[in-house]
Amino acid sequence: AQSVAQPEDQVNVAEGNPLTVKCTYSVSGNPYLFWYVQYPNRGLQFLLKYITGDNLVKGSYGFEAEFNKSQTSFHLKKPSALVSDSALYFCAVREGSDYKLSFGAGTTVTVRA
């Protein structure tokens, strides 16, 4: 079985400050990890993924994520947040040989001007 935990329902930061959204996962095999962002009344937009290789993955809109195997974590980060980053963020995992994505419950990010 595979699962994802996003321990924070909400994250609030000031514009220009660093942003971190936490994610931990559980899979029985090799994890494929993904971050998606959802804006109101829109579908999920792909941000980045970790499959293998460098633990630091860079994605769209200046976001990056760090894979930590020992802590089974895949935290999303952005060095300097923008008001336009305010949205709902989902972490997802699937086992390498599987096709189902398992999503966390989501973290609402609010960036104040």
Partner: protein, 117 residues
């Protein structure tokens, strides 16, 4: 380029009615997925197609839910005799290849918000 599209975007159904939700995946994408997203939750897997073959329907909540992709492109999710607990956003996603053989991400449509009254 064109992304995944879904129609209708919003659907209100009276309890007991049948509904059909349509998904147009990205052209050429082999894999197609349906997810159900309840309010305040992450998406939950419903079913998976590889081309026209439905390889997994383990997430369908009941036998009132039925999905098809007869020509390996457009897919329809049908819900018979809708119940209030079916109210949710239904998301369709597609990916380029078969997941077991690659590292492809899934691209999501905007979803259909179903409200059963």
């Amino acid at each position: 380029g064109a992304g995944v599209s879904q129609s209708p975007r919003y659907k209100v159904a009276k309890r007991g009615q049948d509904v059909a939700l349509r998904c147009d995946p990205i052209s050429g994408h082999v894999s197609l997925f349906w997810y159900q997203q309840a309010l305040g939750q992450g998406p939950e897997f419903l079913t998976y197609f590889q081309n026209e073959a439905q390889l997994d329907k383990s997430g369908l909540p009941s036998d009132r839910f039925f999905a098809e992709r007869p020509e390996g492109s457009v897919s329809t999710l049908k819900i018979q005799r809708t119940q209030q607990e079916d109210s949710a956003v239904y998301l369709c996603a597609s990916s380029l290849g078969a997941p077991g053989g690659g590292t492809y991400e899934q691209y999501f449509g905007p979803g259909t918000r179903l409200t059963v009254t």
